[in-house]
């Protein structure tokens, strides 16, 4: 335990005796206590360490630096330490401290350096993403030269893992979205007595926009992030390196099956989302607006052209490609530390949702110009 060191000033001689434990737990207090002797004037410093009960390296470092501080001020320092083990500890410390270089602080960067670094990192990021796309394109060409190259088993596994298992959550979310959208608009429509237009409104908004977007967002959060984390972890455990040295091209084994699986299944998932959202809307229309399901379906076939359905479905493969390739790209960007898995997984979700929304906007403009 901490015991106050005794300080005794006689003429030009200062006697300082440490007592009790001199360790990392007590050094902070002792340091505070002996600070005041810096204000005293004396020519000789006698340090009595015979009453130290235990001395660890932290305490020894303190003692060593304390002696040196006063030596540097041309004060005569002598230390009395009898315990053999404590002496050995102090010797070990003295020997190492004398030759140990000072650990330099990391130099601080100024704002321009930081901005420059960030910009450069983004530039490099863009280049590496383009490189990834180039590699993807080349391996796709090579891959598709022969049917034998296509890894049906992996594709089937990925279809099950990243799409079929997502069916439940997609069905539930889109059902609820249909329900909510219908419920919100029912109130407005009732004000104008335009109850029947709920069918037009739901049909167009859900088929064209809501169902594809909801599906893409759920898949990006669920499967895209899983791709990033899986491939990132494989990179850390050197599984990717192992595959490369054995001649298994990671693009053929890991990347393309995932992309193909999502591209195939995304339209199907969007179709499910369409149906579930319409079901939700139909229930609200029946309960809230007194539109029977048969009336709903009659009106539906009258006003909703098939093109609205196709517009939504056609977006699927594009969204799927973006989500899968961004997820995988982020996985491949993982560096050899655990932090970067989390960082890249987060990035994969943020970036793929952003990419999906940009892509959706592009589609909107294109379809408007084409008059679809």
């Amino acid at each position: 335990m901490y015991k106050k060191p005794l300080i005794d000033l006689q003429d030009d001689k200062l006697l300082l005796s440490f007592r009790g434990e001199l360790s990392i737990y007590t050094v902070a207090d002792i340091e505070q206590e002996v600070k005041k002797i810096k204000n005293y004037t004396f020519k000789k410093l006698l340090i009595d360490g015979n009453n130290i009960t235990s001395l660890d390296t932290g305490g020894a470092i303190f003692l060593y630096n304390f002696q040196n501080d006063f030596c540097a001020k041309k004060i005569d320092v002598s230390l009395c330490l009898n315990d053999a083990r404590q002496k050995a500890t102090l010797d070990l410390v003295a020997k190492n401290m004398a030759s140990a270089e000072i650990v330099k602080k990391m130099p601080k960067k100024n704002i321009f350096e930081k901005i420059g670094e960030i910009c450069y990192a983004y530039f490099i990021g863009l280049l590496s993403f383009l490189q990834f796309f180039g590699q993807l394109f080349v391996s796709k060409l090579r891959y598709l030269t022969s049917l034998k190259n296509i890894r049906f088993k992996e594709i089937a596994f990925e279809i099950n893992d990243s799409a079929i298992r997502a069916l439940g959550i997609i069905a539930l979310t889109s059902f609820l979205i249909g329900l909510v959208v219908a419920y919100q608009s029912a109130y407005q429509l009732k004000l104008y007595g335009a109850n029947i237009f709920i069918v037009d409104m739901l049909g167009i908004s859900i088929f064209r926009e809501l169902a594809p977007l909801i599906t893409a967002i759920v898949i990006a959060g669920r499967s895209g992030s899983a791709y990033a984390a899986q491939i990132g972890a494989m990179k850390i455990t050197q599984e990717l390196d192992a595959m490369k040295t054995m001649g298994f091209e990671p693009f053929a084994f890991l990347v393309l099956p995932r992309i193909i699986a999502l591209v195939i299944t995304m339209p199907i998932l969007i179709f499910i989302a369409d149906m579930m959202a319409m079901l939700g809307g139909m229930i609200v229309a029946h309960v809230d607006l007194n539109i029977t399901p048969s009336l709903f379906i009659d009106r539906f076939s009258e006003v909703i052209a098939a093109k609205h359905f196709y517009v939504g479905i056609i977006k699927g493969p594009f969204f799927a490609f973006l989500i899968a390739s961004i997820g995988i790209y982020r996985g491949l960007m993982v560096k050899a530390d655990t932090q970067s898995i989390g960082f890249n997984t987060t990035k994969s979700v943020v970036e793929s949702i952003f990419a999906v929304i940009v892509c959706d906007a592009v589609f909107s403009i294109a379809f408007t110009i084409l008059g679809i």
């Binding site: 990392i24 932290g58 630096n65 050995a88 190492n96 401290m97 140990a100 050899a336 932090q339």
Partner: protein, 245 residues
């Protein structure tokens, strides 16, 4: 004085029995080695001693505390009195080497920043790292350096007990011998007690005071290295090259 005592320890994973009645005694100031064939549960036993792994039966006492149903307060105080070096260093990847070593000091003591810097400088030099490496992140240094940094972190709090999991594996022979002499020096000067799992014969001969050899779920030998040659056991005979003589 026995710092670690194991009595009748039994470990079971699923249906597999790993240890079936292990008895051990580690005395103060010893460098104690756990040896045995791969998969015999050396590392598991080490993990049980540092409260990372539960065991099915028996008692383990470390520094006078029984680990069965240990109170959180006692466990915390134990954790400040031992240092553990994992096989691959297990450094925190979000912190630099310097911050890794300083972490226990920052969390558990009220030392001033300059004092912590001094202690870190000492430990870095002690384990043979260079000061310029101190600001690097674990992903930027080699496996051997990670090990040295891991040892510096394990020694940060001046523990009484040091657990080492294959300390010399993956080190070049020169570093490995330096590591051995460092362990010996630390034991002599700081009065450390060391428990290690090792496969490195040179290191075993150079450093260990006592060995325990685990084979077939039990301790087949515990004692000094000299006595090991008289034991009739296939693993021991092969490992220590007695069968070939």
């Amino acid at each position: 004085m026995a710092l670690i005592t194991l009595k009748n320890v039994k470990t079971v994973f699923g249906d597999t029995v790993i240890h079936d009645g292990i008895y051990l005694n580690v005395k103060e100031g010893e460098i104690y080695g756990l040896l045995g064939p791969s998969g015999c549960g050396k590392t598991t036993l080490l993990r049980e001693m540092v409260l990372l792994q539960d065991f099915r039966e028996g008692t383990i006492e470390v520094l006078g505390k029984n680990l069965n149903g240990i109170r959180e307060k006692d466990a915390q105080s134990l954790r400040q009195q031992w240092g553990v070096l994992f096989q691959f260093g297990a450094l925190f990847s979000s912190l630099t080497i310097k911050e890794n070593i300083a972490l226990p000091l920052v969390e558990y003591t009220s030392l001033s920043k300059s004092m912590i810097d001094e202690i870190v400088r000492f430990k870095i030099h002690l384990v043979g790292l260079k000061a310029k490496d101190a600001n690097l992140y674990p992903s930027e240094i080699s496996g051997g350096m990670k090990k040295k940094a891991g040892l510096a972190r394990a020694l940060a709090m001046d523990p009484k007990l040091l657990f080492l999991d294959e300390p010399t594996s993956g080190l070049d022979p020169i570093s490995a011998r330096e590591f051995d002499s460092l362990i010996l020096k630390l034991r002599d000067m700081l009065g450390l007690t060391v428990v290690m799992v090792s496969h490195d014969l040179q290191s075993i001969y150079d450093t260990l005071d006592k060995v325990a050899i685990i084979d077939n779920k039990k301790i087949v030998y515990e004692g000094t290295l000299e006595g090991v040659k008289n034991v009739k056991n296939e693993f021991i005979q092969t490992f220590f090259g007695i069968a070939n003589e």
